[in-house]
Symmetry: D2
Subunit: 379 residues, 4 copies
């Protein structure tokens, strides 16, 4: 076996996403045959003790407590950004200037303006860049993409998606701080729109093309929460729920919804696409299944098929186990790293790049603007 | 057994809905213990031969070919309207003036203005009146109503519903005429909004209260069809698909969709209601099941329950078979007749009355208006 | 419309099955185009008051309290037997001698010996005869038959079926009497074997051919119950649960199970058939769906399809509503009457005849014998 | 963080199971907080080149080509056996004599006699030992165990399980050799009985206690296959399918089935347990869900619940992601290693030990014996 080319990772942030990314770097070469091999060079966060514990657990060789120092290091090839959204821009621009590749958590930025700057920076620097919209790489979702590209659906009429959670119904959940910064617009930019709906939008654009216009409503059900750090009651600044009607460039209609107030749904990301000849549906709670309806089947035998996406001829699955044995959530990140490394190997960048993700940012901004004034927005 | 009081029915129209109503009248006393018994006195339509065949099949005692004559008959207590929508108003007002009870197919009218006149007429005449929004009386749907009334859901956050079909995707389907008048705005008033969405709205108002405001989009995918009678190509005047965002008076958010372009769905009427403490979901393709999630269950045992609504302690079901044996679509009409007759017996009218259904009409009109100009409409 | 030929029915017994049969006779001409029309001539039971109430509810023209008198009547063409099993034989033989057609509830008889006599009697008399194994005529089950006959499954490897209930878990349920004679071997012949497993066997033979041999176990979980009429505790004489291994003539393996102790299952009759090229599955709790897996589908698109059997090109369904609108349990009896009447019309008898059902009886007897001595039995 | 205690692993064999075990050793400390940390010391197989490639991919420090040398090494604490079944015994006994801990793939042995020797050896040596019946540690399965232990099900009436595959239907699949030794009785001991049914039996005994007696049938559908190495046609020596009736010591009835001829099922391991008060069901194709029916629920609200086993208060799940995000197949092996290491830490051995697995072996042997002579066997 030829020696692998190292890709030396410096990760900034070490929360939930820090774990999913670290796992992806650790696992990718066990299952995918690649020239490159990630090396866990350094992880950075302000609390030295905690970040050292994280480094020990995952095998990072070193730690930093100042991200600027990490970006300045010569022994790092790629910066992985998994901080809160409000510092994505600053880090990304600095990393690009330092010539580092960048793997950035989603959403790309706090808003379109920030995203534009970030795109300009990575494109000027000519560095490889990708955003962790991981759900594209659920095998069943990638398979949906393949079926659409083969033209099996025909003309598309409808695209609907939702991302439903229920973890903030309790008014005692605090906002802000390390664990709940997603409930603080200062850190997150928006609520469910940037956190959940952004996934729906990214997948939708990938599968069904450009979104031209949207009309939206948002709601904040719990008006006041305690801040996790200060203990003070303060107004809730984020959107708890968002609903969106829209139109794609290809003439199909969009309907999106996300909320953290859908009792009984933990992380129910679903989409369904209705085409002239066939339809596709998927949901994250059973992510290893793709539902497929084909009008070309013999009449009386038409029905929705539940495809257990676990065979060697399904996307990514020949790298895993045998038919019938399912994979889970974290594998989507492993697939993203595998594709990113393959992109380096072949010289063909893989998405979603910063530029791809800017489009999602624009749609999210239009949604928030429409929800404010109640009018349709052109993207 | 005491002799039953007859309720002498005169039905106008004998299409698909004529069959469901006739069946309901035939079956109701076999399964429900009631003072009244419908008598199939007369059925009316313009084609004497066809209406006679229908009368023979269902056991109507006589036929008419002019609905005014039927309304004028002394031996008829109740007029059942199952004509195309564009003559509901005229018939209903005449029937009310003649002192007949009225059982009218949905939607109530072509628009709110017509509906107002119809309400005024039946209320002035003081005649019993009901509209055939039959899905309220699917046992699982009635059970949803009971659970909500018991307060099991707590504060409601979300109500979403859809009614998806796929039978008009083929551009060769004609419009107009006896079989496809629903594709002709002249006869139907609107497309999926009045035909399908109206069901969603009726159930939503019944279960979750008043809808205050809506914003909507509609689309006509196939722009031109052949008229079934003239054979001429003509512009399609109806909405093929409609999507709606809205707000209920109780503060919850609404999301509705209906279409005849959702490949793979034959008549998929679904709703889901998310409350603070529990959620409910249902769909017409498995109408005998209610899905229920209760947050008050012990933590690790929480999950969506699929309740097979076929027990004696489920709504309407003690009249049918034994647990595990399901009923189907036509039973919803039988239940409506049973309740209507019970209402006569007890003197307590049952809904949806014309007045109840006028509210649905207003929402449908607001939807069509919003889809035209892209702004929110207050109901 | 030509006048219908009457088929004058005399029904003996009026319990649960009396209702399903009466409904079938009432409904069949509303939905099926047939030369014959059942006439509800008389219903017979020992309690005159109760049977009169039943006759009033269903529209029987007269009552009898002695079944021999009913058989002797000239104005009756067909005898419907829905008494407890222990008097099937006597009635059937008398009816055959009187030249009446016979529609007999299942199981045919108390045992094979009785069944042989009954077959001999109807065959000697040359009267039309049929047994109410109604589940053959669930549209999805009939469709399974069609798919097998078309050869879509190829060589069959496995047939498994179960009929699971839970209504006798409570030891306080009595046995014997009108409501619970099925728990009394004197009246029923056996427990779940004749009541539930017999359905599995009838369908299995119909779909997959002769069963050659079986090995079985049975169990009686509750050893003693109170008799419904005497109030006395007595030993339970029936089998509460039965499991069966077997071999079909075509080389496939059988696995059957039935029980009334499967908590959570009300009437879960299921079967699954695995063939070389395709598999089929069905269950009674969602009787309007057929599950179908076809190995000839393109590899990555293989999966179990859930076919909503409600289209005009599905068996029996063009007589009902429109695609997506499901029918229920009682329709299976209507279909059986429709087919029986069509058989009279065409002169081609339809099954399951007494002779067909005798085969099921033999398998049931072999099961009970095997369960007693623990050895394999050849049929 | 305190330094971890190393557990130096020497693995023999490197096929499919070699990958699942290696992955478990690599991942366990990333997700579980344990004193011990596996060290991948050596992997052994006859082909030096291939085993070196495997070692490189997974990070084993060294290789061996003679398992006896590996057992003789001082720097190895535990031997992991993932060879074909026919050399389990020899290796295990040698490893025990050398004082090594043993983690042995299932089934334990070729037969009960071998298993007895192996148990004697590890017990005499006093070495930690465990068998990789990994499905016990699917979180949903472990949760089933907890619910049973809490007494939620009450008296158990029925336990049924099946393990259905379809990968050997094609008669061109060869037998023997590295990839298909499971089709060769010389290497595997039996066919589906030891490979698939053994999982059903292990779980059944764990969840429901001792199996007292069984009656079984087996079948070999394809009678002749080509040997993978010799290219010669030879008789098929294994069982392709097995069905089993049985009785547990607690009075409940068992029904088991396994086959590789169930078209449409890739690895459908299912079980269902019916108790007096509640029932549980699970299947491997959606392994992250547990189905639960509780008779103590309020009557009309009873139904089967689908529990998405992905919350922090579900077994093993607090170590993984957040609610709604599912894990997959390989995690069961990680859980087994985590428990094994915790057992070393606490001094309380965890099962299934060799002795536990011997019980499964006895049942499998009884099944094969019963299938031969058609009589019931006492275990």
């Amino acid at each position: 076996m030829a020696a692998k080319k190292p890709l030396r990772i410096g990760m900034i942030g070490y929360g939930f996403m820090g774990r999913t990314h670290s796992n992806a770097y650790s696992q990718v070469n066990h299952f995918f045959d690649l020239e490159y091999k990630p090396v866990l060079k350094a992880v950075c966060a302000r609390n030295a003790e905690k970040v050292q514990a994280f480094a020990d657990q995952w095998g990072y060789e070193s730690i930093e407590t100042d991200w600027k120092k990490m970006i300045a290091r010569d022994d790092i090839d790629a910066i992985d950004i998994c901080t809160p959204n409000n510092i994505h821009k600053e880090i990304a621009i600095a990393a690009a200037k330092a010539g580092k590749m960048i793997l950035c958590e989603k959403p790309l930025a706090m808003n379109t303006a920030e995203g534009e700057e970030m795109c300009a920076a990575v494109e000027k620097a000519g560095v490889a860049n990708i955003v962790w919209y991981n759900y594209r790489r659920v095998p069943a979702v990638t398979m949906a993409k393949q079926l659409i590209e083969r033209g099996l659906l025909g003309k598309i009429f409808h695209y609907r998606a939702q991302f439903l959670q229920d973890w903030t119904i309790n008014a005692d959940v605090p906002q802000g701080g390390a664990a709940t910064w997603r409930l603080d617009a200062e850190a997150a930019g928006s609520g469910v729109t940037g956190d959940l709906l952004a996934h729906c939008i990214d997948t939708a654009i990938w599968l069904n093309g450009k979104i031209d216009s949207v009309s939206a409503m948002t709601e904040t059900f719990v008006k006041e929460r305690t801040h996790a750090l200060t203990g003070q009651k303060q107004a809730v600044s984020i959107d708890d729920a968002a609903a969106v009607m829209g139109r794609f460039s290809n003439g199909s209609l969009a309907l999106f919804e996300s909320t953290r107030y859908a009792r009984g749904h933990k992380a129910l990301y679903t989409f369904e696409i209705n085409g002239e000849n066939a339809s596709i549906a998927w949901d994250l709670h059973d992510l290893h299944r793709l539902k497929f309806y084909d009008y070309r089947d013999e009449g009386p035998l038409r029905g929705w098929k539940s495809i257990h996406v676990s065979d060697g001829d399904h996307p990514y699955m020949k790298s895993w186990w045998v038919p019938g044995l399912q994979i889970g959530y974290e594998h989507t990140f492993i697939h993203q790293v595998a594709d990113f490394l393959k992109g380096l190997e072949t010289g063909t960048p893989v998405g979603p790049t910063f530029r791809d993700s800017l489009e999602t940012q624009k749609v999210c901004d239009a949604i928030l603007a429409s929800a404010k004034d109640g009018t349709w927005k052109h993207i």
